[in-house]
């Protein structure tokens, strides 16, 4: 009976949604429109506050953000305040998990793992750790950035948890690192306020587009975000594996 009601309600809502949307956009295809006229055109041509010509990879010096990856320049420079808000929301979720479960719970007993997992984890764990660090330091040149890099570091610690039944981390060092990284982000913004005039300004010189030491403050912000997200998610994983103290 419940499923019949649910299906009826969903079909009614679906008909209204699809009919309404098919009047404003083309549902089964894509629009042929170009980018010009949309707000994203200023982000691609890098002329939000000052005029600039064509940006060429490997030749243009002192462009506005100087990073070759356009999504990175939107997240960490033009819309950096929204990223600060997202880092705060993730911090709230980690604090909520740790308050509800953590504390003095013991860890659940894990079974001894097989031979393949134990051998392979010793080989794969350093490769995963170095790949994660590579992804967030090269966030302005290749796809990726701080968020998948930090998550890959947390997944490598999860692999160690699965492979060894006596492994357990001391969490106080991770939570300390997470707090320090969060405060460093706000301090970098305040330094921009003192040097330039507005919060989170890009105050380091931006070099040639496409080299490693370019794009001003963007690689520094991504290293901070990568360390923060990595230690946060490791804390969440370690809290989820704990035994429940009876309420």
């Amino acid at each position: 009976m419940r499923k019949v009601f649910a299906a009826g309600l969903v079909i009614l809502f679906g008909v209204v949604l699809l009919l309404g949307l098919s009047k404003t956009m083309d549902i089964a295809g894509y629009e042929d429109g170009l980018i010009s006229g949309k707000p994203a055109e200023a982000y691609i041509n890098k002329n939000v506050t000052e005029e600039s010509g064509e940006i060429i990879y490997g030749e243009t010096k002192d462009a506005e953000t100087g990073s070759a990856n356009m999504v990175t320049s939107v997240i960490a420079n033009y819309r950096s305040f929204d990223t600060l808000g997202e880092v705060t929301v993730l911090f709230l979720a980690a604090v909520g998990v740790s308050m509800l479960i953590g504390g003095s719970g013991k860890e659940k007993k894990r079974k001894k793992s097989g031979f393949i997992l134990r051998t392979a984890a010793g080989i794969i764990f350093p490769v995963m750790l170095i790949t994660g660090i590579y992804i967030f330091t090269h966030g302005h040149l290749t796809p990726g950035g701080g968020f998948p890099g930090g998550s890959m570091i947390a997944s490598s610690f999860l692999l160690l948890y699965m492979a060894d039944e006596k492994f357990s981390l001391k969490l106080s060092g991770f939570k300390f690192a997470e707090g320090i990284a969060g405060s460093l982000y706000v301090l970098a913004g305040a330094a921009g306020l003192f040097i330039g005039g507005y919060f989170l300004m890009n105050f380091l010189p931006t070099g040639t587009v496409g080299t490693l030491f370019s794009a001003g403050i963007i690689p520094i912000i991504y290293v901070i975000i990568g360390l923060k997200v990595g230690s946060e998610i490791t804390g969440i994983i370690s809290d989820m594996l704990k035994e429940e103290v009876s309420v």
């Binding site: 990175t72 659940k108 796809p143 998550s151 997944s155 994983i237």
Partner: protein, 84 residues
């Protein structure tokens, strides 16, 4: 038809099929496994829509970490099929 059109049709049909299988199944563990496979099909859809940053992020978060925290919450049940 061109090759890209066949790929788009294939990915769309896989997305809808795995979502229906995750919602209809009776056991909890089956639903969680289908959710993990659905996120891999979503990574293929993101790659077809020319979005490499989003595809890498969804691959790392959607199929490794979310599946783990779901399985770690139902571990204590005697039968994993305590669903309704």
């Amino acid at each position: 038809m061109e090759f890209i059109n066949i790929l788009e049709w294939g990915v769309s049909i896989l997305l809808v099929f795995f979502a229906l299988a995750a919602v209809i199944s009776k056991k909890l563990l089956t639903a969680i496994v289908f959710l993990s496979v659905l996120s891999m099909a979503a990574v293929a859809a993101f790659a077809l829509l020319r979005a490499p940053d989003v595809a890498v992020t969804e691959a790392v978060i959607g199929s490794g970490l979310v599946t783990f925290i779901f399985v770690a919450s139902i571990r204590g049940l005697r039968k994993a099929g305590e669903g309704l």
